[in-house]
């Protein structure tokens, strides 16, 4: 998307308004998907489950509650952390393609930037945890840091593997750009061996998504049955609702990233729809379906079927098993390149 190239002011305006709109849209769909997720998990456990609008009610209720700052906390940091978390997850949405459209600021940042931006919300959670001075929050913050360090490696290997293969086959200037990845879907570049490798990398990314979204079995940092809510133990009212929103948006962004990397297809070319509004609507709906499917397998199904890992098990899953799977996947993609190209 060429963002009005020359006029700096107009550009700035688009970025500011676009960011605000994206955060609102991301929050809306994030909460909607959280409601769907809770309903699906309840059904899988033989329960009726809360209505799909439940997360909206939760946030509305949290905004009505008192906002307590504990006496032992560092007030400015304690209050700043929720805003930092929400703003950084919002800025994540600027660089990830949503609704079948290119990312709003896709020209200015690529997947590597997204990898770095993904760290900031976790850091904000950690800061908030340490600032709240509760021993439970401190334990949660330490766990969050450890698990963050463990899923970075497999995530980076997956992104590198895809971008390397695209750069190897095509003459794209920057294979890390989201638009390049969308232009050359990874599956169309690979032979049979490479497809197995890409499937392994997809599996890795699915498991990393669970950790990024801090869901069972990787919710060790928030574990409410074990360390009483961990990082968020001292948060209430408005601050808690901001963390809730950033958590919801981050899950949506992470699933969108998986969709952008592995299923960047649009439905409108296949159906032969070319008129701009119709094609946009079809692509947006198709995107929502893709996110729903990925969310079902990566978050709901795993959440309903598993118990929580211990922190040592969670890190070894990421650092050993998932890094190994991603590396084997990358190796197979490389072997595939030797055979077929």
């Amino acid at each position: 998307m060429s963002l009005l190239g020359e006029n700096v002011w107009l550009n700035g305006l688009v970025i500011v308004i676009g960011t605000a709109v994206l955060v609102l849209v991301g929050a809306f769909f994030g909460m909607l998907y959280r409601g769907v997720d809770r309903k699906l998990v309840a059904r899988m456990q033989g329960r009726v489950g809360p209505p799909i609008a439940q997360p909206f009610r939760d946030v509305q209720k949290l905004l009505m509650k008192e906002n307590i700052i504990p006496s032992g906390a560092t007030p400015w940091l304690f209050n700043a952390a929720p805003f930092l978390a929400l703003i950084s997850t919002g800025s994540l949405l600027l660089f990830i393609p949503l609704f079948g459209q290119p990312a709003l600021l896709g020209r200015y940042g690529d997947v590597i930037l997204v990898l770095y931006l993904l760290i900031i919300p976790s850091l904000a959670f950690v800061l908030g945890g340490f600032a709240s001075s509760s021993p439970y929050a401190t334990v949660g913050a330490q766990r969050e840091m450890i698990i963050m360090m463990s899923y970075e490696a497999p995530l980076a290997v997956v992104v590198l593997g895809i971008a390397w293969r695209i750069g190897h086959v095509t003459d794209a200037a920057n294979p890390f750009l989201m638009s390049t990845i969308a232009q050359y879907p990874i599956w169309s570049l690979l032979g049979p061996v490479g497809v197995i490798g890409a499937l392994l990398m997809l599996l890795t990314l699915v498991v990393v998504t669970v950790g990024e979204a801090a869901k069972v079995p990787f919710d060790v940092a928030e574990a409410e049955t074990e360390i009483a809510g961990g990082l968020l133990v001292e948060y209430s009212g408005r601050n808690l609702s901001l963390f809730y929103l950033s958590d919801v948006i981050k899950a949506f962004a992470m699933v969108s990233l998986l969709v952008a990397l592995f299923i960047p297809y649009n439905l409108s070319p296949a159906l032969g729809i070319t008129a701009a509004p119709a094609a946009g609507i079809v692509d947006a709906l198709f995107f929502l379906v893709k996110v729903l499917v990925v969310m079902f397998f990566s978050i709901s199904l795993i959440r309903a079927g598993m118990a929580r890992f211990k922190i040592s098990q969670a890190t070894s899953v990421y650092l050993m098993a998932m890094t190994a799977a991603a590396l084997v996947g990358m190796f197979l993609v490389w072997v595939d390149a030797r055979i077929w190209v």
């Binding site: 809770r38 309840a42 456990q45 033989g46 329960r47 009726v48 489950g49 809360p50 209505p51 439940q54 909206f56 009610r57 939760d58 509305q60 209720k61 009505m64 509650k65 008192e66 906002n67 307590i68 439970y136 574990a223 409410e224 049955t225 360390i227 009483a228 809510g229 968020l232 133990v233 001292e234 948060y235 209430s236 009212g237 808690l240």
Partner: protein, 144 residues
Amino acid sequence: MNLKAFNRALWVYHLNTGSCNGCDIEILAVLTPRYDVERFGIMLVGSPRHADVLLVTGPVARSMEDSVRRVYAQTPDPKLVMVIGNCGIEGDVFHEAYSLVGPIDQIIPVDVYVPGCPPRPEAIIHGVVMAWAKLERLVKKEVV
């Protein structure tokens, strides 16, 4: 105050002040697939800071008195307190014990009493409905 959103998203914190665990097991039964209170938006949370309702069980043992007061103070307003079981209401079989400072309403203000030893899950759900009704009355009188 939008009462519907508040009523339909009650997060509860479970505080045991020295109960025999009977009431506590019934509270857990309310969350199981058979009774599933999550369908009303009720969720068990791990921290009083997140809670809207304190579910208090047990006659208050002397060593718990300070903790009960602190947990009540740590819960953000607006909040409700539900006492589950006879022990918290009037001491029940422990009413003569030397180590008790209860019942609970002598220590913190209580909104809903759910009697029973232990109360059935249906009674606990009925107690939540009473809490909704009380909130509605308070809002009509514009107390909250």
